[in-house]
Amino acid sequence: MPPPLTFRLLAGCRVSMERGIGFLEGHSDLDAGRAFDSFGGADARAFRSHMDQWLDGANGPKTHFHPFKSDLDHRNCFVFKYKEHRLYGFLCHPEDSDPRFQLCSLCIYATKHEHNSDRRELDRVEQWGKSLSAQEAISKIYPPKLRKGEGRTPWTN
């Protein structure tokens, strides 16, 4: 049985009541956290800056990060960008008490030299976003509220 996935919140950033960022880890396919940790110098600063901007509530510029709202198959996907580096993840709303809270769960690292994102990478991110193991990992950080007489209710994207 594979070890359960884990979710690690981004450290060293402003704590926001509206948005959060973290890394889904525990599988060889989930390499966004490893890639982010290995960044140094300008790469690390650029991603940190772009993440800060999103956490602060900015919705652009698209050269820094963007969702894929117009792509119905990948509308929960999200990407942070710097040069050829891409950190792909999915957006979800894990807070029962505040359904507006947005969490960006980063999953996959890729390098890209073409204009359009590789749909296979987005497909993988979507699959991770829908997986129960990912939901369970995130639920450990954002535990769902138990209602009387009810079991745990999974969060939805």
Binding site: G12, C13, R14, A42, R48, H50, G60, P61, K62, T63
Partner: protein, 156 residues
Amino acid sequence: MDELKTTTHWTAQSIENFTYRVASDFLAQVETTIEKGEVSRSELAHRLNRTLGRVSQLFNPSNITVSSAVRLVRAAGMKVALVAYDDNDAENKNGPVNSDLFYQCWKQMGSPKTFFELARTTAPIVNFGYWDEAATCGIEIGRVHTTQNSITRPVN
């Protein structure tokens, strides 16, 4: 980047980090202007008399100086200000305030160009009128300072 796996904000780790973040926020404002279609990169290159490649280098936060920032925004038809502020976060636990936030607030205030314009925007409304007692205790005219100004005044 082990030093960034801490509870303090990553820009508190070094001046270089803080500088990079400030430059990145500034360049995000210019890039947003480009994305809105107000100016293109090729138009910027033309106005700056530089190649597209050289203009792209200007969008690297590591390369930004005050002089290059001014050149860039002037070519984009904008202006730039260096703003010092105190957000009660001397230890920088929360990182810098996004420069676009200052711009949005300035626009919300009616884009004042001088301290006089700012004072006119924020000065409390002063009403001259009769006190309630005027009808029974003789006429007394007084200044009634309300707590409402152009920001807090309810919109009709």
